[in-house]
């Protein structure tokens, strides 16, 4: 899922400082699962914005709403139900949701309430970690399912750097060296010999270095 976290309140309050009617818009997708921008978090944020604005001596009406997702145009149309009730949308979706609102509602002000952090999973309750970089050219079949692009600080493709010590990364002793993990795992799977093959020079254009990425599935398009 896409993992995100709420921006500092001071930053949010500064964004909406001149607004008179704010719609705090939750997303019931990924950010709901990572407890950053679902209905519960939007309710909390709306309350905090009301308190913050009041403390700053500003009069402001704050309402809450939610959409199934904010990354599909069908759901964005649902914003119509609050028409006339807001002069700005404070979205608790990830950056994709904020962009979709900006794309599809050209006359609406939209502000991000979250910092979108990474693609990850919940390793235990309340803790999430990055697992995928969305680089567009997956190498997991070569690395036992563990991603060196997302989980190596240097995104190395041919084994660890000299900073790998006792299975830990030099950037932080609490961070596992993913190449050590790959090596150990490939050993358990009796596939370590596959690691002797050098990975070719990587073309990073698929990772966004070639500009914004787009995907077209002709079998699914309707026009």
């Amino acid at each position: 899922m896409i993992v995100a976290e709420r921006k500092p309140l001071a930053e949010i309050l500064d964004m909406v400082r001149d607004c008179k009617k704010i719609l705090v818009l939750a997303c019931r997708g990924c950010v709901s699962v990572c407890s950053a921008g679902g209905e519960r978090e939007a309710e909390i944020l709306a309350s905090l914005v009301r308190l913050g604005m009041k403390k700053n001596g500003k009069s402001c009406e704050v309402i809450e709403g939610s959409l199934v997702r904010q990354c599909d145009r069908e759901y964005i149309d649902g914003i119509d139900q609050w028409q006339g009730q807001y002069d700005a949308i404070l979205s608790t979706a990830c950056g994709v949701g904020v962009n979709f609102i900006a794309n599809l509602r050209p006359d609406d002000n939209v502000f991000p309430a979250l910092n979108t952090t990474f693609f990850g999973g919940s390793v235990e309750q309340g803790i999430w970690s990055e697992q995928c970089a969305g680089c567009g050219d997956c190498v997991l079949h070569l690395t036992g399912g563990l991603c060196p692009v997302a989980r190596c600080a240097k995104s190395l493709m041919n084994g660890p750097c000299g900073g790998s010590v006792d299975g830990r990364c030099e950037i932080d002793p609490n961070v596992d060296c993913i190449w050590q993990m790959i090596y150990d795992r490939m050993g358990r799977l009796d596939r370590q010999q596959e690691m002797a093959k050098s990975a070719p020079i990587r073309d990073w254009s698929s990772a966004g270095h070639g500009g914004p990425r787009k995907q077209v599935r002709e079998d699914l398009t309707v026009s």
Partner: protein
Amino acid sequence: MSFTPDIRLFSCHYTSQQSCAHGGRELQELGFPENIQITRLPCTGKLEVAAMLKAFEDGADAVYVVGCPVDGCHNVQGSQRAAKRVAAVREMLQELDVEPERVRMYHLSRGLHPEFIEAGIEMNRCIEKIGPSPF
């Protein structure tokens, strides 16, 4: 400036059970501040962050929570969960540049003990000193 704080207490059913008996008459006799409004919950683990913030929106000067002892919650971890949510609200108040002392967690034994009264008196004194809510 002297003022009477509006204090909201969220207390678990077990901790406040005897405290609320006889319409709270015994509480008053023991000196529990009358300006503290008690809301009883099945378990403080049920208490949401939003409910504490709503209390401030509704005019509370302070909110405190009384739940079971940390290792003796009737619902195992309910009061521990409440303590984490109280800590989260304290951080939110700090983000708003408001005194975190306006929110507090107490872990107390079940029934009407002197500590239940003392917690109320302590909270009341603390907020009288800090002053009215800035909200």
